[in-house]
Subunit: 344 residues, 2 copies
Amino acid sequence: MLRLAYIIMNLKELSKVLKLSISTVSKALNDSSEISAATKKKVVAKAKALNYHANPFASNLRSQKSKTIAVIIPAIANNFFSLAINGAESYAQGKDYHVLIYQTHEELQKEIAICKHLYNGRVDGIMVSLTRQTNDTAHFLDLKKKGIPLVFFDRVAEKIDAPKITTDDYESAFIGMQHLLKTGCKKIAFLSISDTLSISNKRHDGFIDALKKHKIKPEKNLMLACDNDENANKKKIKKLLTQKNKPDAIFACVEELAIASYEICEELKIKIPQDVKIISYSNLQTASILNPALTTITQPAYEIGRKAASILFRLINKKEPNLSEENTVLKSTLIVRKSTGEKK
Amino acid sequence: MLRLAYIIMNLKELSKVLKLSISTVSKALNDSSEISAATKKKVVAKAKALNYHANPFASNLRSQKSKTIAVIIPAIANNFFSLAINGAESYAQGKDYHVLIYQTHEELQKEIAICKHLYNGRVDGIMVSLTRQTNDTAHFLDLKKKGIPLVFFDRVAEKIDAPKITTDDYESAFIGMQHLLKTGCKKIAFLSISDTLSISNKRHDGFIDALKKHKIKPEKNLMLACDNDENANKKKIKKLLTQKNKPDAIFACVEELAIASYEICEELKIKIPQDVKIISYSNLQTASILNPALTTITQPAYEIGRKAASILFRLINKKEPNLSEENTVLKSTLIVRKSTGEKK
C-alpha cells in the first residue's frame, strides 16, 4: 500500500506544484485536445524537471491500452522463431510498443494456459505460432470472442478466422524434393514433427506429389512422425537408418530433426552425402559450417515476423475490420550445399 | 471507454447476481481472510460459471504487483541467452509469474531506453545481462533508487550493488588456455567482444596469466577487439589469419566469433585444426557436428538463469534485505573436440 500511495502522491504533488487540477495535469500529460498547447508545454516541462513518471497500471486502466503485444511461440531456442521475433519487434518498436514473449515448449496445455492468462486484456494483440501438439484450437476462439486482435504465423490454425502469415510450404517442399530426385535419390525418408500442423501437412503433400511426379511410390516405413521427446526421435532415426529398407536421403521438416540425423550419422559412421543425403527446412546460422554443410529450405523468418506484426497493428488500430480473411504467403529459398552432394 | 465499462460491469454484475457487495466479491476472489470459506466457495463457483475474468490493470493497481519479471538481454538468437531464459522461466512459472523478454541488440542506448520504460514499476523485478557497449551503468542506479529488485547475470555491472550470477570466467579461460598450450600452441589469438564488460576482462586475465605461466609473451597484433558490426569483425579476423604474425590458435570469447572464424577459414582454405586450432565459449547446439567439431568452454546457462531468477524472487518477496552482496559463481565445463586437434 505504501508504494501505491507514493505513486499517486506523485501525480497529486505535481498538480499542487503546478497549481492545476489533477485532471488537467493528467490530460496535459496524455496530450489531450482539451488542453492548450501552452499548458501542455508547462506541465510536460515540470513533469520532466521533477522526474515524474506515470503509474503504468493507473494509466493503462484509463486508456485500456497495454502498449504491449504478445508473441506465443513453441521456443526461442530456434533460429526461425528468434528471427521472427526480431522482425515483429522491429515493427512494434516503431509503434512504441513492447513485445511479450511466451514459450509453449511445444505443449498444448501451456498454449491453453497462456491464452487464458491473456484472455483478460493484458495485451493489445497476439501473434501465435502453434505447438506441434495443437489439434484443437478452441482456446483461440475465446480470445476472438473477447475482441482481442489475433494473427497466426507459420504454424497457423486453419479453422480460426484470423489473418495468417505463412511460407509456401507445399511449393518449397516440392522444389526441395525435385532437387533430391534430380541427384538420383529414390528412397527418400520424410521426418515430420506433427500430423496435425498445417505446415507438416503441406510439406507432406509437396513431398508426396514430387514423388508421384517421378513415378515413385511413397513407402510407409520411410515416413517418420516425430514428437517432443528428443531421445525417442533419435531412436526412431537410428532405426530408420539401420532398417532393411534404408533411405538414400532424408527430408527433414524442421532443423532439430536434421541436427538429430547428423548426430546419428556421426554415431553410426554413416557418411553424408555418400550414404545418405540430407535436406532440411532451417534458418540455422551454422548450416554452412556443418560437417558437411547442410542443404536448406530457408524461410524468410524475419519478414514473416515483421509482416505478422504489421497486420496485427492494423487490427489493433481497427483501421481495417475485414482483415480476418487476409492470408499472406512469403516464399522460402532452396540453398544447395554439400549435404545433398552437389555443390561445395 | 466501452471496453473499460464492460469489464467493470462484469464485477458489478457478478456482485448483483450474488447479492453481495462488490467489496465482498472482490475480497472473496482474492482469497481474503476477512471472508468465510463458504462465501468464497460460492463466489468462486459463480465467477467460474459466469466466466468472470478480473481486469488485470484494475487488480494490478490494487495489489501493485504486476506478476511479471523482465529479463533484459543482448539477444535471444544466442544459445546462452535462450537457455538462460528457459532457466529463469522455469523458476518464474513455479511462482505463477510471467517473463517479459527485452532485447538490447547489444546497444547501450536501447538498454537505457528499456530501463526508463521499466522505471515506473511495470514489472516486479528485473534480470539483466549487459550489452557489449555498456561502459556506464548509471541507468541501473535509477532503478535501484526506485526500489525495483535487480539481479545481474553473466555480463554484470561491477559497480552496482546488486546480486550477480556469473560463471568462473577467469578460471575457465585459464583451463581452456592450458588445454591449447599443452597441444603445443605458442601464438594464440584472443577474440574479445568488448573492452568494458566484466566477462571479457576476466577471460582476458585468465588468457594472459596462462600465457605467462608458460613463459609466453602476449602479442599485441594477436589481440582482437570485436564489436557489433559483423562484417567488420570478419574483416578483422581475415586480416589476423593472413598477417605475417599468424596465430596457431584462436581463443574466442563468444560463439559468434568462433562461427565467423570458421567461415573465414572455409573461405581462405585454412584447415582447422591443422593450420589453426579454435576454442570458444559456447552453448551452440551444433558444436559437435560442425566441420570440425568445436572445442567449447560451456557455461551452465540454464542454471545461471534459474539461479538469477530464484535470487530475484527472494528480493521481490523481501525475505532477505541484504542480498545485494550475494554473488554466485557457477562453473563452466571444457569440452574437447576436433577443432583443437585432440579428440574426435
